[in-house]
């Protein structure tokens, strides 16, 4: 039971002058209860990949299977896939439309034909998971603060009880405390056995949060593995299409010079290790 992407290729507008190869053969496995990060710059194909995971886009070739159901099978299986994989777009506040927070939360479940009791239960549960107080239910979603809106959008997708959650830059535009809070809440989802797919251009964030990292560049897989092995590989050679966070650039420079310092995102650890090196 997992999401399996095999040799996924996607071409936009095939056969027209606007033809673009967005994905050129990508493989990925997402197990429930794990955090997978998909990292790449603009144009790497990560947003295209995200839309394949819940069948908003269908493969030009290759396959996407969610818990054994292929997205290219019958149309009814498409809806099943969409039910299992929730997708939160970037700046999801742009999709708010309901008159009350309760209605916004109920939209997803209602589309999937949840009973009213079920809707009430899942609304309460999901709002608690995302740190939203029940007293917000009667308010208009447009009256909430920026951070609350963001969490509401994620909650409204979670309310449909998907097994997997794909988030495209969930912390975009947030300040440090907001970001920390949201990521903490999302980490809690993994404990609920939800498979989280985190799409981002921030390598630092991906390395900090994920158990598995997929790096894409111009639609091709450039790396797939654990954060630890990614750091190891970065020691060997620079990876194309990866904008190194400044601290790793610094580590790279220090190592080139001859200091034996580890690839770490922890500034204090790096300072301690460098101090040791300098004193010997």
């Amino acid at each position: 039971m997992s999401i399996r992407v095999a040799s996924l290729r996607h071409v936009y507008h095939p056969g027209t002058p606007l033809e673009t190869k967005a994905l050129g053969g990508v493989d990925l496995t997402v197990d429930p209860g794990t955090w997978v990060a998909v990292v790449g710059q603009t144009g790497s194909g990560k947003s295209t990949l995200a839309q394949h995971l819940n069948a908003l886009l269908l493969p030009t070739s290759g396959s996407v299977e969610v818990d054994g159901i292929s997205t290219t099978a019958a149309a009814s299986s498409l809806r099943m896939v969409r039910r299992k994989v929730g997708l939160v777009f970037q700046y999801p506040e742009h999709q708010l439309f309901a008159e009350s927070v309760l209605e916004e939360m109920a939209f997803g479940p209602r589309n999937w034909k949840f009973s009213e009791d079920d809707i009430r239960e899942t609304t309460t549960r999901t709002m608690k998971l995302l740190g939203l107080s029940e007293e917000l239910l009667a308010r208009s979603p447009f009256q909430l603060s920026g951070g609350q809106k963001r969490r509401l959008c994620i909650a409204s997708v979670l309310a449909a009880r998907p097994d997997y959650l794909v988030l495209d830059e969930p912390t975009a535009g947030m300040d440090a405390p907001g970001r920390r809070e949201l990521l903490g809440l999302l980490k809690g989802l993994v404990k609920e056995r939800i498979g989280v797919v985190h799409i981002t251009h921030d390598l630092e964030l991906a390395l900090a949060m994920a158990e598995q990292v997929l790096v894409l560049e111009k639609g091709k897989t450039v790396f797939c593995g654990t954060p630890g092995s990614l750091m190891d590989e970065l020691i060997e050679r620079p990876i194309k299409g990866l904008c190194l966070p400044p601290i790793l650039e610094l580590v790279s420079g220090l190592r080139d010079y001859g200091y034996n310092v580890p690839f770490t995102l922890d500034a204090v650890e790096l300072a301690d290790r460098l101090e040791k090196e300098m004193r010997t």
Partner: protein
Amino acid sequence: MFALRGVSFTYPGAVTPALDGVGLSIRNGEWVALIGANGSGKSTLAKLFNALLIPTRGDCLVCGLKTDNEENLWAIRSRVSMVFQNPDNQIVASVVEEDVAFGPENLGLPPLEIHGRVFDCLCLVGLEEKRRAPTYALSGGQKQRLAIAGALAMQPRCLVLDEATAMLDPQGREDVLKILRSLHKRGMTLVQITHRLDEILDATRVVVLGKGRIAWAGDLAGLFAMRDCFDEWGLEMPPLVRFSRKLQERNLLPKACLPFVKELLENLCP
């Protein structure tokens, strides 16, 4: 350049003021970073600088002109240009060079001068190749650079950037910062509103806003010495800054070394 005295601002219909008793002055040529968490009042303060908002209490003077006097609006806005957060919501025209020309056209300048300014500003932001390109096809970073070009075409003395990099990816952010650095070298006054501390490392002065008031003001070195207050102010110390400070505390790094990769390597790897 700017002088604010006892400025308060409350949005119509709001209960609490967005800004409360703010006093601030900014001199020509400074690069002032205005930082704080979301909701601290930074954007509100930014809009006071070019008279898009007028204080509900107190005075705001721009180059000696009071912002509450309607007759001054024109002069103020031709001296202070602003770049906003959402790249799309600043672009008026369908073609790059036409959008840059929008400001000078509003000033009623002769066509030859407009052409000159458009070309110069596009070169300054590195978009001269795209002068006839459709604005719709630009990336987020390019759109923001276009917005900067449009603001520069007014030939302002000061550029105010209201979270101008918030919606950009790392490459886009770096492109914008490069432009800001070169502008500052040429003597432009910069007021940079942001919540990302890794973007303010070139600032000559830092002002921290919290809940509508000035929580602290000083220079960069002073700011990073105040790290115990960062949680309260909603700020996050960039890793390189933390690294530099640790080494500086142990005397392994000169105090004057800036927290950039290049400078750190120069000092640590002679």
